[in-house]
Subunit: 375 residues, 2 copies
Amino acid sequence: MAFEFSFEIEAEDPQTGGRNGRLATPHGILQTPVFAPVGTQGTVKAMRPDELVTLGATLVLSNTYHLYLRPGDELVRDLGGLHHFMQWNGPILTDSGGFQVFSLSQTRKIDDEGVTFQSHHDGSYHRFTPEKSIAIQENLGADIIMAFDECPPPTDYEYVKRSLVRTHAWAQRCVAAKTRGDQALFGIVQGGIFPDLRAQSAEFLLGLDLPGYAIGGLAVGESKSEMYTVLDQMNPILPRHKPRYLMGVGAPEDLVNGVLRGVDVFDCVLPTRLARHNTALIKGGKLNLRNARFERDPLPIDEGCDCYTCQTFSRAYLRHLVKANEILGHILLTTHNIHFLLELMRQMREAIAAGQLRPFADEFLQHYPAVAVTT
Amino acid sequence: MAFEFSFEIEAEDPQTGGRNGRLATPHGILQTPVFAPVGTQGTVKAMRPDELVTLGATLVLSNTYHLYLRPGDELVRDLGGLHHFMQWNGPILTDSGGFQVFSLSQTRKIDDEGVTFQSHHDGSYHRFTPEKSIAIQENLGADIIMAFDECPPPTDYEYVKRSLVRTHAWAQRCVAAKTRGDQALFGIVQGGIFPDLRAQSAEFLLGLDLPGYAIGGLAVGESKSEMYTVLDQMNPILPRHKPRYLMGVGAPEDLVNGVLRGVDVFDCVLPTRLARHNTALIKGGKLNLRNARFERDPLPIDEGCDCYTCQTFSRAYLRHLVKANEILGHILLTTHNIHFLLELMRQMREAIAAGQLRPFADEFLQHYPAVAVTT
């Protein structure tokens, strides 16, 4: 079951860090930069897998913490693995479960061995260790799996510094625990907003010679300019010939700023979560479809958008659906939001191939003036 | 805007009352017998309109009461009518609002002029009269609209008898109130389970020479054999050359028993409502996908079913989705249930064309022994 993961750079933008790559996985080739919609519980909320394909999604992220608790990773394994279970035949990435343990579980106790926590469903006690995280991710069977790490408060220097020791030891234990040859284990560079700690973390993890590296611990409370500064620093440090993954980031302006700084892979619940809150992404902002001003609006969300929702329905109809709590509203907004981000990624790949990422990004980011920090 | 509605009988089953027809409407031809999924609030719950087309749906019912309250029939009219608003380009049927006024509204006061009721949303007061119901239905713009009637308790002879006087007067007022030439107004035969009252109601309404007739007031508390007995009586009384519509009926065994007795059109929330309760229709019964016995079941809902859900997903995955309250579970069960009923209708049309409805019905109904009352 060994698989030769490879990452080839097909084009590099001459003026920025942007690059187009081909990441080969057991379930197909990912054209990077790529955005992964999140299928928390083994389904991208409100989307059939064939609709995701139609939308151009190529990579889906799913959550180890959630699937471990329900339906259980061994059940998923026994039913043929996560790809078969959820009938997503493209590449899947699973996180390590660490982030959810810290953000969702009721109580948790962390020690150097691992983390004991209570399920957010029923309060039952569970324990994750690096070895357990890898075992779960091997049962799920994603193409890309993640090292188990601690995600510390990004602006607390002393905490982040102490936490790095643990995260690095856990990364080594993940490498040692891994048994499958058809999964790529990515390391996660931590270090908060502190350049010396980020450099130290990168140096340690690069020593493990992993097939890819994530930039972790961002989009968790620091400012956008702090995030972009970390990315500026990481771009020359991370090896050029390996994929870089910016975890949990999906705001349109962050995707552009990430690609400008050499990021290849992104994931975020943003498009699906916004849809649950009746909100559509548009260039430069958002529309809340519950708003009374859309009551009689015959226009689509975005006249320039070629998604099914915009090609078919008026804002007035969408407002009616969300006011009436109709599932179709949720479906149609999810469709639009995922399309919006995937189309942005496609346009960036095209701009990189044409050596035009800089002007593309400048034009796009002028619609986001409050956060237009460009490298 | 006049339209020549027509109903041609293409085949009659030699041994039963079953018949295949072509009902021409401004939005296309309906092959009957036909089952209409219900789009209560201008959307068949959890379904995109293009998915309904893929499933083979041709007719959709929507509810006057619901759309009048939200988003408002005048708004729908101003946005181009219900077809355009919900982007369903096939025929639509709207009910009169009467049934929902009696079943949903908080308080109501009925008099010979109409009904005053409180909205189930906010308690606000509203009044429906025959004229108002027609005005709303003209604003919505469905192909087939229904006379405003009272739906009495079907087994209370004295009440039903008194109610008929009002229902008949209201039918006449609906005819008089109608202004559009591109909508077919169907009358509704009432009379509960009482042959003399049904005959009296049919006689009165046939005198109005309407383009179609509904059999109303059934599936509201009487037994199935009482329902079938009414249908047995109505079959020879209703004019052969006009479509007959059995309102609110969609249980598989009732569809078969209805078609055996010459019914052409059905509607019911059953497939969408069952899906919301995690339940799939199968021949002879139902599966509740929350059941623990499906936890590790790799089979589809129905191995013989060619819907997207059954062609793609295991019961174990569906159980996971419904346990996790994932919208996709709702979508996939709705898809299966609508497909189940539409496929049953297709098979009955085929059987009628082949003169084989009797054996088809016998085989099908043996899976429903408790209710296999055949004519």
